[in-house]
């Protein structure tokens, strides 16, 4: 889902849904890597049955990583992908099924987003390589040294789209990988593997959902299957909730902001391309042991436990005295539905609902107020009750006006604060950061009567006074710099002019005039926008709960209407067109690629993208307008790309279809899923028998052979068969000469047209044990304090340090744990801050003890760290009161939900930046838009 903020919001509001993964690392002995035995119990103290991989979330970071040098060629990329899957497998250790889904051709509704991403990516790619070239020449001309340019083609990330050779190749490689692991990895021995490659239409995560939906609707499905889905998209959370499976966990990479990125030219960390000077590399660590990666920078994984989220939601959504029976499952569906208003891949979000402004909370409140009047739930198994939705929307519409005003106010407030902060920072740099005063004031040696230092009276109070004074003087200092303000203001960039001014009267008219270029009086047009949006909401919900309702439908505008426009919407939607077909892979490529990526297409097809006589030339503009729409960066804005006319596209392609080579025709065809099993899997013999008998028709899998998985299998044209040598598609890896794995085509169970997948918890499902503190804990357990559950295991034994461990810690971390200073809970300023010895020692400490600090960061941030100016010194000690998570993480190695906060990391200069609106550094993962 195109809402990166959603996950942040969720993890902050419901912190207990996050569990850090425990990962067993392969050990190395005499330069031989010893792989982890994944047959052993899962170190996370939970056993998963099925692991689903949304492969695009893996392919993107492996092919064009942002935090390490890019792989040199396609082979290295493939190996990187294999290693990534191995790593995930090691963490999750699924016992029954591994499902890999690569994005196939997506529904039309997604095409606009895909188009805009690809048009931008193509431009960004060209720009960044030009920039690189320019700086490279500059650096070389100044005598800098850069590693010689490798002969590699610029990797156009646009090739990660179904239908390209790259994707075809990837599918082959994955088949090889699966066969290899089934034969050689004991953890895979009894595993069923399903691969749904790019030739199967549908987005990866939705193919997975479709599989789960179809399996759980058949009688052999185990209602207590523990699913684990891998992927970083926020909409996976919605999808997981939409399944109503009681055990559903999502695994994703932990998002760490401000991760150091290597320079694209010299490959070193610590500066950006722009600042590259071609300096020789500095030794990292005492023996250059951190040469490749800065310490602590390996990406870690986290689990998101949806059953805990369900617990939270149950607490939040449960309503007493309803006019109808409260059904938690239905209210979860409504919650999911309301999240769509705030943003999804298929519709622009409503202008008044901004997730950072607590839009979901607002919606939930409105929902709870309105639900008494609606007389029922908004949705039912993916079908929307528009009359009730209208009540919600109009209720939002009533406050819309205030939301916009508030937004403006907050915005101005934020800017003011930002400015003041800047000023303060500047003022602080101009004078010593902290001067002691009062009894502690510095005095010249040997002057007056003070040759013998007096004893200090009441040190705590004195320190307090000093602290207050210090805070005060900063405020005083700011007006002095007032003269400079004008100059500062003028060199900051001018804000783009906002001519909508949503906070002023007449905003609606201006919005429609500016965004749609129609007059507000054009009721018909406005109605059309609303109708499309309503259709969109219905389509999206159906897509999540029942599968793709129409491959053709799409939202034909770039902007959403206002909530207050949703009047009389119940008549606006009837039913979607039935029997629509997805595009063929190459057709979709024509629909989403800019002319600059035409090299992935056959010659005559490519010509349609740039020939002035082409009958679809209007789909391929060179440059397009971007409406920042209140945002700051070009990549956040709305790309005003023309929409594709499906009829004309198909008509134009008709003529070039004969030009396809047989291989291209194969790539252009729609394929199916494959199922793979190893030698000892019970299904192996069954499949082998099918091949031996050369059964042509599809055969039902006996569910008892395969943990209740149902579906039909059909012989493959080029299957993996026992005793057949499997050639390695990657030169780096060897061929498989001894193969016992087998593969066959797999079809999900079919259901008749119009079958409705019920959004309910299945019979026989056991409710997971609660994780959250019960609301009435204090009442029933007066004597015990609540101990929060940190991992999957409820009865996890807490680890204790014995006395020798404490001694060790006390020895190495004197000022926090040491015996001096009267314990670390002491409120008095610890002696450390006055003690020059400690001040000097601080930088050393971080270098000497890298292993003690879990979240180590590059040393730069330590040595750059200005002295603790403006912060009352003692606040940096004593973790009980520490408001500064970054510092705490370093000192204590503490891990927990605080890692999610954007506050984490960053040097002090940035530490205070508001994680809220406006200031948004591009998230490192921003590029990995899947599909």
């Amino acid at each position: 889902m195109g809402v990166p903020a959603f996950f942040r919001w969720l993890s902050r509001k419901y912190p207990s849904i996050i569990v850090h993964s425990v990962e067993e690392k392969p050990k190395e002995c005499n330069n031989i890597k010893i792989p982890v035995d994944t047959t052993k119990p899962n170190p996370n103290e939970v056993e998963f049955d099925n692991l689903y991989l949304d492969m695009n979330g893996i392919i993107h970071p492996c092919t064009h990583p942002e935090d390490k040098p890019a792989p040199k060629n396609e082979d290295e990329m493939m190996v990187a992908i294999f290693e990534y899957i191995d790593r995930l497998f090691n963490i999750v250790r699924p016992r029954r099924l591994l499902y890999m889904a690569i994005d196939g051709v997506a529904p039309r509704a997604k095409m606009n987003q895909q188009r805009s991403r690809r048009f931008r990516a193509s431009k960004e790619g060209v720009e960044s390589s030009e920039e690189k070239q320019r700086i490279r020449e500059e650096v070389l001309s100044k005598g800098g040294y850069l590693p010689p340019e490798e002969v590699k083609e610029r990797f156009d990330s646009n090739c990660i789209t179904p239908g390209t050779e790259f994707m075809d190749n990837l599918a082959k490689c994955l088949r090889y990988y699966i066969a290899d692991r089934l034969n050689n990895d004991p953890g895979w021995k009894n595993l069923t593997v399903i691969l749904s490659d790019a030739s199967v239409p549908g987005e990866g995560e939705h193919k997975i959902m479709d599989y789960i939906r179809r399996q759980r609707a058949q009688p052999h499905h185990d209602p207590n299957t523990h699913h684990c889905l891998c992927g970083a998209d926020a909409d996976l959370i919605m999808l997981g909730l939409a399944t109503h499976e009681p055990y559903f966990t999502i695994i994703r990479e932990e998002f760490k902001p401000n991760k150091p990125k290597p320079c694209g030219l010299c490959g070193q960390f610590g500066h950006e391309i722009k600042e590259c000077q071609g300096m020789p590399r500095e030794k990292k660590g005492e023996h250059d042991e951190f040469a490749d990666t800065p310490p602590g920078c390996e990406q870690e994984f986290i689990f998101i436990r949806l059953n805990v989220l369900r617990e939270y939601l149950e607490k939040e959504l449960t309503m007493a005295s309803l006019p109808f029976q409260f059904d938690f499952e239905r209210s979860v569906d409504d919650w999911v539905f309301m999240c769509f208003f705030v943003g999804n891949d298929f519709l622009p979000h409503l202008p008044s609902l901004e997730i950072r402004e607590g839009a979901i909370d607002r919606l939930v409140n409105i929902y709870k107020n309105v639900v008494h009047k609606t007389g029922g739930y908004l949705t039912d198994s993916g079908f929307v009750n528009l009359e009730r939705v209208q009540m919600i929307m109009l209720a939002v519409g009533e406050v819309e006006d205030n939301i916009f005003k508030k937004r403006k106010e907050d915005d101005e407030h934020f800017k003011r604060r930002q400015k003041e902060r800047k000023k303060r920072m500047k003022a602080e740099h101009q004078k010593p950061s902290f001067v002691t005063s009062g009894q502690f004031a510095p005095r010249a040696l040997g002057q007056g009567s003070c040759s013998v230092p007096e004893a200090i009276n009441n040190p705590r109070q004195e320190a307090y006074r000093m602290r207050m004074q210090n805070a005060h003087s900063v405020d005083n200092a700011s007006p002095n710099t007032g003269q400079k303000r004008k100059a500062e203001g003028s060199d900051s960039e001018p804000e783009p002019e906002d001519n909508i001014r949503l906070w002023e009267e007449g905003w609606k008219q201006r919005y429609y005039k500016n965004k749609f270029d129609v007059d507000a009086s054009d009721e018909k047009f406005r109605r059309k926008v609303v109708q499309s949006y309503v259709e969109g909401l219905c389509w999206v919900l159906r897509y999540y709960y029942q599968g793709c309702a129409s491959w053709k439908w799409f939202f034909p505008f770039h902007y959403a209407p206002f909530a207050s426009d949703f009047e009389n919407i119940s008549c606006l939607f009837k039913e979607f067109e039935k029997g629509t077909k997805p595009f063929k892979p190459l057709e979709q490529l024509m629909g989403v690629f800019p002319a600059a990526s035409g090299n992935f297409l056959p010659e005559s097809w490519r010509r349609l993208m740039n020939d002035p006589d082409s009958s679809i030339i209007d789909f391929y503009p060179d440059d397009f307008a971007i409406d920042l729409n209140g945002k700051k960066f070009a990549w956040q804005g709305v790309a005003l790309l023309p929409f594709v006319d499906e009829r004309r596209l198909r008509a134009a392609l008709e003529e070039v279809y004969p030009d396809l080579t047989p291989d291209e025709t194969r790539r252009n065809s729609l394929g199916g899923d494959s199922i793979f099993v190893g030698e000892s899997h019970p299904l192996n013999d069954f499949i082998h028998e099918l091949y031996r008998a050369n059964t042509t028709e599809a055969t039902q899998i006996p569910p008892e052979l395969c943990h209740g998985i149902q579906g039909k299998v059909q012989l493959e044209e080029d299957p993996i068969l026992p005793n057949k040598i499997i050639e390695s598609p990657v030169p780096l890896l060897r061929d498989l000469s001894q193969n016992f794995a087998i593969s066959i085509k797999f079809e999900d169970p079919e259901y008749e047209d119009g079958y409705i997948f019920k959004a309910v918890v299945l019979q026989g499902a056991k409710k997971p044990a609660p994780t959250l503190k019960p609301g009435d804990w204090e009442k029933s357990n007066q004597d015990r304090s609540w101990r929060p559950q940190l991992g999957f295991n409820q009865n996890r034994k807490p680890v204790h340090l014995d006395s020798s461990a404490f001694r060790t810690l006390g020895h190495t971390l004197p000022q926090t744990r040491g015996p001096r200073g009267g314990g670390h809970y002491s409120n008095a300023p610890p002696p450390g801050s006055y003690n020059p010895v400690n001040t000097y020692r601080m930088p050393n400490r971080s270098a000497a003890l890298p292993s003690l600090m879990q979240n180590n960061r590059p040393q730069g941030s330590w040595s750059n760290r200005p002295p603790l100016y403006n912060q009352p010194p003692q606040r940096n000690f004593g973790p009980m009161q520490n408001p500064h998570p970054a510092f705490m993480n370093q000192q204590m190695g503490q891990r927990g939900p605080s890692n999610y906060y954007q506050r984490y990391g960053g040097d002090l200069n940035r530490q205070g930046y508001n994680q809220g609106r406006n200031y948004q550094a591009p998230p490192p993962s921003g590029r990995y838009h899947r599909n």
Binding site: R120, K123, E127, E130, E131, K274, E493, P494, P496, E497, N499, G506, Q509, R510, K513, N514, F516, D517, V518, D522, F525, K528, V529, S532, P556, F557, A595, N610, P612, D613, S614, S615, I616, I617, D618, Y620, P621, D622, D623, F624, A625, I626, D627, L628, A634, G637, A639, L640, L641, P642, D645, R647, R648, A651, A652, E654
Partner: protein, 411 residues
């Protein structure tokens, strides 16, 4: 608006064509866009079928028709959503769109412009002043390419709009002739203008009233540094790609008159004098206040300097893209110019009130420390044109209301 009447009249006579047209309309096209695209299609329908014939239905996938639809969409995307296509396509569609008048196309900033802006900021902050040498060099080559491009621009536009000249890019910046304004460009112009001002001022002080050839050389040496930065990679690319076709027909059309720093420089001394005159007049009138007869004041000052105040009126409804805060009852617009430099504009129920408002606005310009003539982009007849505008020294370029008369013709 004449062409629209023509269209509706034609459709009234040919109901079959009208019915056919509705079938090629995009489902979600607004009336305004469709009205213009419809005209585009009708005007070029003879490419598809003979006169009077009913055109083929879209379902038949008629090749020529699809091509026409593609061009109409490309044109509409260009005009209304700010897309830019490769040059051959642009030339073709703009030629096909001859005589179609779009009065109120929205403005957009394209992605390249947006990125160029960011880049420019980054570069100028890091190595400004360090690399003057290469920049100058770079400039000479770029200027070459740029001039050629702008010639192409002119050519295309001339064909497009033979009656009035438009879109004279500054000669430094060239882009594939979008009629929509870009903030970026406007910024460039104002920057250029400011630089020129400082030059003029310098020479004025030293007693040189008239701009000398030396001044010219100086300013054109100074300007490129600025312009060099503006020249991002994308624009460079553009100018290269453009060279080819432009050479073949360089002389086919006469280039449009374009405002340069010369024009502003030429006028600046006059306005410096006018500034003094107005200032003294205001002092003797007891300072600026609302009760003064601003029109008389302005007029007498200008006449004392042997120039005339040009006053033009136009009914408000003819200026379709005025800001919305003008109420409908104020129905006459008055524009004041002097030496073809725009001074101000006012609205009113009668010509007199409009004139009074306009002159009050104009006099306000003289309340600051200095007035400056700048080249600005603004709308005229729905398209972007350059205009000479009088600013007070502090004001930043703002969104000007559309011009009443074509500034190019006034010079």
């Amino acid at each position: 608006m004449g062409s629209e009447c023509e269209v509706s009249e034609f459709l009234g006579q040919n109901p079959e064509t009208a019915a056919w047209l509705e079938r090629v309309r995009g489902e979600c096209e607004s009336d305004k866009w469709w009205q213009h695209r419809r005209e585009f299609i009708l005007r070029n329908l003879r490419d598809v079928c003979g006169e009077g014939e009913i055109p083929p239905l879209p379902e038949t996938n008629h090749k020529e028709l699809d091509r026409l639809l593609a061009y109409s969409m490309a044109w509409a995307n260009h005009v209304f959503t700010g897309c830019r296509y490769p040059l051959p396509v642009m030339e073709k569609v703009l030629k096909m769109a001859e005589n179609i008048k779009v009065t109120d196309a929205p403005t957009h900033t394209t992605r390249d412009e947006l990125v160029a802006k960011v880049k420019k900021r980054g570069i100028s902050s890091s190595n400004e002043g360090v690399e003057e040498e290469p920049c100058k060099k770079q400039k000479s080559t770029e200027d070459h390419g740029a001039r050629k491009t702008s010639n192409v621009n002119d050519r295309v536009e001339n064909r497009n709009q033979p009656s009035d000249t438009m879109e004279s890019s500054s000669g430094k910046i060239c882009d594939g002739n979008i009629p929509s304004t870009s903030l970026n460009k406007r910024e460039v112009h104002s920057n250029a203008a400011q630089r020129t001002d400082t030059n003029t001022e310098f020479y004025e002080k030293s007693g040189n009233r008239r701009p000398l050839p030396v001044t010219k050389a100086k300013s054109s040496l100074n300007l490129p540094k600025e312009a060099g930065y503006k020249h991002d990679a994308a624009q460079e690319r553009k100018s290269h790609s453009v060279k080819g076709p432009s050479q073949s027909s360089d002389n086919a059309f006469k280039p449009t008159r374009r405002f340069t720093s010369e024009d502003t420089k030429e006028r600046q001394p006059f306005f410096n004098r006018l500034y003094k005159t107005v200032a003294w007049k205001l002092v003797s009138a007891g300072g600026f206040n609302a009760n003064l007869n601003h029109e008389e004041l302005l007029n007498s000052c200008i006449e004392s300097l042997k120039a005339t105040l040009d006053i033009a009126f136009v009914p408000l409804k003819d200026l379709a893209d005025l800001p919305q805060n003008k109420t409908s009852q104020e129905n006459i617009v008055c524009e004041l110019r002097c030496k073809s430099v725009y001074l101000g504009m006012g609205c009113g129920k009668t010509k007199e009130t409009a004139k009074a408002v306009a002159s009050r606005e104009a006099v306000k310009l003289f309340l600051k420390k200095k007035v400056v003539v700048r080249i600005c982009r603004r709308k005229y007849n729905g398209r972007d044109v350059e205009d000479l505008v009088l600013y007070d020294e502090e004001s930043r370029p703002v969104n000007l209301p559309p011009a009443i008369r074509n500034p190019q013709e006034l010079v």
